[in-house]
């Protein structure tokens, strides 16, 4: 075993994801506390290694199977790295790669895994992870006392600036060919997204709806308010999954990130996946009948008045 912290670098479209810097920054703190190194695994994008200056060493691997993100290929290479290097802690994000890999590392490397981590600190020889559970309504404090562990961290939990350092890290190329033999998963293409009718990231005002809208017909109420404000209608995942809103209108982790001047959240509970996409809006006003809904932790103003009572009153005042 070692005192090292290993971060899986995530990259898309030829650029490192912000969360990778967030993880590298926290890895630095933990490795310093334990007297270990910060290591980053960078698969299929060796050319980006120079940007990972907060790492002591970057392990790079190049192989045709790593040209695109392939969950099975990533799992095999990561497992070979952790078995060989025995870090004390492995950090991933809760994006797709984290969901594919963190629990698989736990099984394949016999290490505990904590999901949806939002806080992480050294506690003596071990670590204390704080994780969201029950949609962010509760937090769990988890003690990681053993010599190895895996944490899947929610994006935005740690500052990215701490992970950006302007110095070249050591780079160590890994030969992954042997472990990538006989893959059962292959990437066959990118599905072209339907072009969105409206670019909600460009709007100053967004009226956004969530599960509080119980049916497609109910959506008209919100549409009327959006019209009165000259704003496009956006929404959380349940509404796009229902097919009530086009995918291009989805705000959150698997949709788009928006920073409007006003975000009017109607019947949105504020699940972490949604908040990730709107927390930087200038003014958030939320309407939800559940006074304990997490959306009120990010909103500036809130009301528990039923949206079906509130919205007609708003429309009445806003319509010329």
């Amino acid at each position: 075993m070692s005192n090292d912290v290993l971060v899986l670098a995530e990259h898309q479209g030829g650029a490192l994801c912000t969360v990778t810097f967030e993880l590298a920054g926290r890895a630095r703190e933990l490795a310093d506390a334990w007297g270990g190194q910060v290591q980053v695994a960078l698969l299929g994008a060796s050319n980006l290694a120079g940007q990972l200056g907060s790492a002591d060493v970057v392990f790079t691997a190049e192989h045709p199977a790593l040209a695109d993100y392939n969950p099975e290929a990533y799992e095999r290479v990561l497992l070979s790295i952790v078995h060989a290097r025995t870090p004390r802690l492995v950090l991933l994000s809760t994006a797709t790669a984290g969901l594919d890999l963190s629990a698989a590392l736990s099984v394949g490397w016999d290490a505990p895994v904590v999901s949806s981590v939002v806080g992480l600190s050294a506690e003596g020889e071990g670590a204390l992870a704080t994780a969201q559970i029950y949609g962010g309504k509760l937090l769990a404090e988890v003690e990681l006392a053993g010599s190895r562990a895996v944490c899947a961290v929610i994006a935005g939990s740690f500052p990215a600036a701490a992970g950006r350092r302007d110095r070249p890290p050591a780079v160590e190329a890994i030969d992954a060919a042997a472990v990538l033999d006989g893959l059962r998963t292959s990437v066959t293409g990118v599905v072209t997204a339907e072009a969105g009718d409206v670019d909600i990231t460009a709007a100053d005002v967004l009226v956004s709806v969530g599960r509080g809208i119980g049916s497609r017909d109910d959506l008209e109420v919100a549409e009327e308010l959006a019209d009165a404000l000259g704003a496009p209608l956006a929404g959380s995942r349940p509404l796009t999954d229902q097919g009530w809103l086009p995918k291009s209108r989805q705000v959150g982790k698997s949709g788009v990130t928006v920073k409007p001047k006003l975000y009017l959240a109607l019947g949105i509970s504020g699940a972490p996946e949604h908040v990730e996409g709107m927390r930087d809006a200038e003014l958030v006003i939320a309407c939800n009948t559940d006074a304990k809904a997490p959306i009120f932790d990010v909103a500036h103003y809130g009301t528990t008045v039923d949206l079906f009572d509130l919205v007609p009153e708003l429309v009445k005042r806003l319509k010329p």
Partner: protein, 256 residues
């Protein structure tokens, strides 16, 4: 083609969650339980596969509060069999143990695809699809929005960040964590569920005494410390609307 859909009951997070005296679990006595919403999506996708390829769909759940409702609901929607693994005890069951129990049952079952929800509200030690795939030594793919099974392989659509969707081919058997089905989960009437219940077709199978420790110590659960909280607008709909319009006006977003 045989598709297995593990479903799980989770506390309804719309409800208030009270803690047990030792602070390490939610007090389950008065909680309402619902099917994990992503498992509903997995079931829908499995039923779509059945419709296009004639696959058999088997739904399996552990003996948890209200699981019968979920299993009979699945039968009413078109699942061919429903299995309840009994004897798993009460309280929060770690994903490691849950996956070990299911893996032991799956080993004797035979299957081409396992479809389950990409995650659940009480996942603290990993997600079931990934844990199962790793335990069974099978390829596994999460955050999936469509599965088309063809002979010994499946074509799978996986969502990456920012709405990018890629298509992957995976050899079967495989385990898939479903984010969303290709269509909204179908509705089934209470009377259809009652019919399924009267058939009494849920098979009860003793759960394996599987090991499956998390490897960590859960110190406590706690309510998040609110670093910030919205200023709550008081009054009736009219008063609140008035205040909101003032706020929007002050921001210069509407004339006046």
């Amino acid at each position: 083609m045989k598709v297995i859909v593990p479903v799980k009951q989770v506390p309804d997070v719309v409800e208030d969650l009270e803690l047990t005296a030792d602070g390490t679990d939610v007090d389950r006595e008065f909680l309402k339980f619902v099917v994990n919403e992503f498992d509903e999506q997995a079931l829908e996708e499995a039923l779509c596969i059945k419709e296009s390829s004639g696959a058999a769909v088997v739904v399996v759940g552990l003996d948890e509060p209200d699981v019968d409702q979920a299993l009979y609901g699945a039968l009413a929607k078109g699942a061919d069999r429903a299995v309840k693994l009994v004897g798993t005890g009460e309280g929060w069951l770690p994903g490691h143990r849950r996956s070990a129990i299911l893996a032991a049952w799956l080993a004797g079952e035979g299957y081409d695809l396992v479809l389950t929800g990409v995650q659940a509200a009480d996942d603290l030690d990993g997600q079931l699809a990934t844990l199962l795939g790793a335990r069974l030594g099978l390829p596994h793919i999460s955050v999936v929005v469509r599965v088309d099974a063809e002979g010994s392989a499946a074509r799978v659509r996986q969502e990456l960040a920012g709405g990018t969707v890629v298509e992957e081919a995976v050899a079967l058997p495989a385990v898939i964590g479903v984010q969303a089905a290709r269509q909204a989960p179908r509705y089934v009437s209470i009377s259809r569920i009652r019919q399924a219940q009267q058939s009494g077709a849920v098979e009860e199978v003793p759960a394996a005494t599987a090991d499956g420790a998390t490897g960590f110590r859960l110190r406590r659960l706690l309510a998040p410390e609110r670093t910030s909280h919205a200023e709550m607008l008081r009054g009736g709909p009219g008063e609140v609307a008035e205040r909101i319009v003032e706020l929007i006006r002050a921001k210069g977003l509407i004339p006046g």
